[in-house]
């Protein structure tokens, strides 16, 4: 067998640490592991996780390999959060977890026990847009729309980060009040790629929301 014992060791490790460290979840290996034959069936580890998604309590039983992104898109069927690269490189999957933006493709769903997750669907609806969503429509801060949910979740979070005094690469000072300047916003948004190239319009949408807030 050209795959060594890596997988079996890894699995036992997960089980051990899971039992000790994840009291809130339950683990139910569905398939017995048989390492000795070439056609070995490798076990799936299922785990229950509970989180609040857009204010609603959700309990999911998931393959532990499921990312938060795929849990949202494929299990909860909240498809507003997008898969652009699945590598943490494009930002299309950005969601807000406990008030901070993250790349949901880089985070396993079972890591989010008890977390508060806000997706694009939780910010506003077509009939009742969040101010940032409305500003994106007004300033045409999108084209194809695929990166847009991630851009908006990031944009909302960026303004909060600036308000909270979290510094960025371009901040003149590491402490003290931050300004929602054009360059601060552009720097902080740079993890969200828009291949259609709506950046100039997104900056204007954010400036409008930042101005109203100030």
């Amino acid at each position: 067998m050209d795959q060594p014992d890596y997988f079996s060791v890894s699995r036992r490790g997960v089980l051990a640490s899971g039992a000790a460290g994840l009291a809130a979840g339950s683990i139910s290996p569905q398939v017995a592991f048989a390492a000795s034959t070439p056609a070995a069936e490798r076990a799936i580890t299922m785990q229950t996780v509970s989180m609040r998604i857009n204010g609603k309590a959700q309990t999911l039983e998931l393959d532990t390999r499921t990312t938060l992104l795929d849990a949202l898109r494929e299990h909860v069927k909240l498809t507003g959060t997008k898969k652009g690269c699945d590598h943490g490189q494009c930002g299309a999957c950005t969601v807000i977890v406990n008030g901070e933006r993250i790349n949901s493709c880089l985070s396993l769903a079972v890591m989010h026990e008890g977390d508060e997750v806000t997706t694009i669907e939780g910010l506003g609806t077509p009939e009742n847009l969040h101010p940032m969503q409305a500003a994106f429509v007004k300033h045409d801060g999108y084209q194809c729309g695929y990166c847009t949910p991630g851009q908006i979740c990031s944009a909302v979070s960026v303004l909060k980060e600036i308000a909270d005094g979290v510094p960025s690469h371009v901040s003149a000072e590491l402490t003290g009040p931050m300004e929602a300047s054009n360059i601060e916003m552009r720097e902080r948004m740079s993890g969200n790629i828009c291949r259609c190239g709506a950046y100039s319009n997104i900056a204007e949408a954010m400036a409008e929301v930042a101005g109203e807030r100030a």
Partner: protein, 733 residues
């Protein structure tokens, strides 16, 4: 509607809705995450299984065998489709090599199997356990090694070269001449949504919910590849997460989903992993372009030669870098030629403004060099070489050509007269400041496009066409067109797109979408107006449709009176014949760029960008402007950062992800300005509009490169202009 003579005054000219800045009608769906993209259609078919592609790990050779034993035994695995169990699929439209089937491997990451499982995680894990035994052969992967011996592209009667006058003699005797060679790299579309499809069968009928720019073409292609009656194929693609040409033609996600769904007996969904977007699909070929100009001392070109070498798999053209050079500037003696190197790389194919994007990066750089040699303002050099006719066929005029106006308006708005005139001579603190410009040029293409309109008994209108909206704003401009024609408020119009059961449109590509698809809706609305007018014995040509009424003289009737007995449906298309032969139809831009280069580190920042564009009637200034700024953004990437790096030993694009393939991000792009010139081009389309979606990209790369030269005094002719190519040549600090 046969469009054979340019339209006179039309209903569209009143521009109550068309031409007005209009936010996108699909905007609220997009900003809330409710617009459904291909992989997200949980609602359309029950019991969807997940497919995961096993890609080839070699670039050329053969599959000896595929061992599925371990993969098949994994939990959740439903079936595995392998390339060796089906014959090579016939080529669909636009394809150079088969998408799937057989044992021959022609490019790296070619799909060899699809593992279908109950969940994505299961399919992915099992796919890693598929063992492929390869017979690897050495391929030709190095464009630069092959380019010097690349043969001329063959046309139907000999080499595809174009000669006017006597280039060699004119060039030899010209008082001023240049001979320069530019290089552009392989580039990737890198749209945000990877190719994706859900396939479901009902008996012999296949439905694909997919992400595709050209529905009618692709329906035929799927039917051909899978040997189906086209009547049994339906594609649905209401929203695309970008395409830029990557989704013009059917790709492997659709065919393996369809084949596997048949095998599994249930719907299958497949999305390409991001690395496969780079290596399994298509890209823009690298080019090497030699330009020779001969000119009089007043700047008038007397000799123009442009030779372009690009690469591709056998059987397909390369990047047509010379296309614009045959049309853009006057000059009596001309020579253009294309050479093609046969490469064993993934298929090169159309990427946004194929030809002009790479071609203008070279041509407009060379023009900048000529201007400098002449001691001329680069804007004036372009202007003295303006032509109002096709320079190769002088009895063929442009339908409308506003290049000079674009340059003058753009230069004025940008403050070109205040530019840095001494390369390397403008400094602001640590920054070297430079200004550059270039002409943008791209043709406007006439394509048949059909639509159906339904006026329902409540007075609301529905537009149905298989047109796609790839971010271009199709939904909105089609609604604007219908609202204008029927005198309805925009909110009373619903637009349904992307379904192959609808009338076949021009689709989205080659910046032909807007003007032709709206013209198709215009044609259908003309018919609908005739039907409604006939019901009230009014003359459709003089009757006015306004505020939900039809009016003629003193008489006015509500449209809902016409539909009292049921909805009224009209369908028509726009078709063209001779106008494009008689007239050259093109769009123009003047691109202006200011950049700052760190005098110490060589880092480059684009500080200002402005484009002045002439593209016929601008149907929606908001979405048209977005098309242009987005294209300008892509142009910055092409100039400064984007390059697919080839592993010339193993034949694949190494930087096959969005960290390694560096597209512009927010921090790279400043505020961008766009000016649209007033232009109505009745020859180009009934809407008097031309395309604009690619114009914004054409010329931008050269404007950035010219600005970099102007800032630093260092001329880099090898794109992208990464600082390793000029850092050691910067002025002393």
């Amino acid at each position: 509607m046969k469009y054979t003579t340019p339209a006179g005054d039309t209903v569209i000219d009143r521009q109550r809705v068309v031409g007005q800045p209009t936010t996108r009608i699909d905007g609220p769906l997009k900003v809330t995450g409710h617009a459904p993209y291909a992989y997200e259609r949980h609602d359309v078919a029950a019991n969807q299984a997940y497919g995961y592609i096993v890609p080839s790990a070699i670039a050329k050779g053969r599959v000896r065998s595929i061992d599925l034993a371990e993969a098949k035994a994994q939990p959740g695995v439903i079936t595995i489709l392998t390339t060796t169990e089906v014959d090579e699929l016939p080529l669909g439209m636009g394809h150079t090599v088969p998408l799937f089937g057989g044992s021959e491997i022609r490019f790296y990451h070619q799909a060899l199997a699809l593992v279908v499982a109950e969940t994505f995680e299961q399919a992915r894990a099992a796919a890693k356990l598929v063992r492929v035994d390869y017979e690897r052969t050495q391929g030709n992967h190095d464009f630069h090694a092959l380019a010097p011996d690349a043969p001329l592209v063959e046309g139907s009667d000999g080499p595809d070269v174009s000669k006017v006058g006597d280039f060699e003699a004119a060039y030899a005797s010209a008082p001023v001449s240049i001979d320069v060679t530019y290089e552009t790299p392989h580039e990737s579309h890198a749209m945000m949504e990877p190719h994706a499809s859900i396939a479901a069968w009902e008996g012999e009928k296949l439905t694909l919910w997919t992400s595709n720019q050209m529905i009618a073409w692709s329906k035929q292609a799927v039917a051909k590849m899978l040997d189906l009656d086209p009547a049994n194929v339906r594609l649905d693609s209401p929203f695309l997460g970008g395409g830029f040409g990557a989704k013009l033609f059917v790709r492997v996600d659709a065919v393996v989903a369809a084949l596997a769904a048949k095998k599994a007996g249930r719907p299958v969904k497949v999305m390409l992993d991001r690395p496969l977007v780079f290596n399994n699909t298509t890209h823009r070929s690298a080019t090497i372009q030699r330009l020779r100009f001969g000119a009089e001392r007043d700047g008038r070109l007397t000799a123009i030669s442009h030779e372009c070498t690009s690469g591709n798999l056998a059987g397909q053209e390369g990047e047509n870098g010379i296309a614009q050079t045959r049309l853009l500037y006057a000059g009596a003696n001309r020579y253009t030629a294309q050479r093609i190197a046969r490469l064993d790389l993934p298929e090169a194919n159309a990427m946004r403004a194929p030809g002009e994007t790479a071609g203008l990066m070279a041509l407009e750089g060379a023009m900048d060099e000529l201007a400098e040699k002449l001691g001329m303002d680069p804007v004036e050099l372009r202007i003295v070489n303006d032509t109002q006719v096709d320079p190769e066929t002088p009895n063929r005029p442009y339908s409308s050509r506003m290049m000079v106006e674009c340059l003058r308006r753009g230069a004025e708005a940008f403050g070109w007269d205040k530019r840095n005139k001494t390369p390397g001579g403008m400094r602001e603190g640590r920054w070297l400041i430079g200004h550059g410009m270039a002409v943008g040029f791209r043709n406007s293409v006439q394509m048949k496009s059909a639509a159906r309109v339904r006026l329902s008994s409540n007075g609301k209108l529905t537009v149905e066409t298989d047109m796609t909206d790839i971010g271009t704003g199709s939904y909105t401009i089609l609604a604007q067109t219908a609202a204008e024609m029927l005198g309805l408020p925009l909110e009373d119009v619903t637009v349904t797109l992307g379904d192959s059961d609808m009338p076949a449109s021009c689709g989205s590509g080659g910046q032909w979408g807007a003007q032709n698809s709206t013209s198709g809706v215009y044609a259908a609305c003309v018919k609908l107006r005739e039907d409604i007018a006939g019901r009230f014995a009014m003359d459709p040509n003089t009757a006015e449709f306004i505020d939900g009424e039809i009016r003629a003289g003193a008489e006015s009737r509500k449209l809902t009176e016409a539909t009292a007995s049921g909805e009224i449906v009209a369908e028509d298309s726009v078709e063209y014949d001779e106008l494009s032969k008689k007239y050259q139809q093109s769009t123009f831009a003047g691109h202006f760029v200011e950049i700052a280069v760190d005098a110490y580190t060589g880092e480059t920042y684009v500080r200002r960008m402005l484009a002045a564009c002439a593209a016929g009637r601008i149907l929606n200034p908001i979405s048209a402007r977005s098309q242009v700024i987005g294209a300008m953004t892509m142009g910055v990437g092409g100039a400064l950062t984007e390059e697919l790096a080839v592993d010339t030993r193993f034949g694949f694009f190494v930087n096959h992800d969005l960290a390694g393939y560096e597209v512009p991000v927010h921090a790279d792009i400043p505020h961008q300005e766009v000016i649209f010139l007033d232009e109505l081009d009745a020859i180009a389309s009934p809407m008097k509009a031309k395309g604009v979606g690619e114009l914004g990209l054409c010329g931008v790369g050269a404007a950035v490169a010219n600005a970099l030269y102007n800032a630093t005094g260092v001329r880099v002719r090898e794109y992208p202009l990464t600082l390793d190519k000029y850092l050691d040549k910067l002025p002393a600090v």
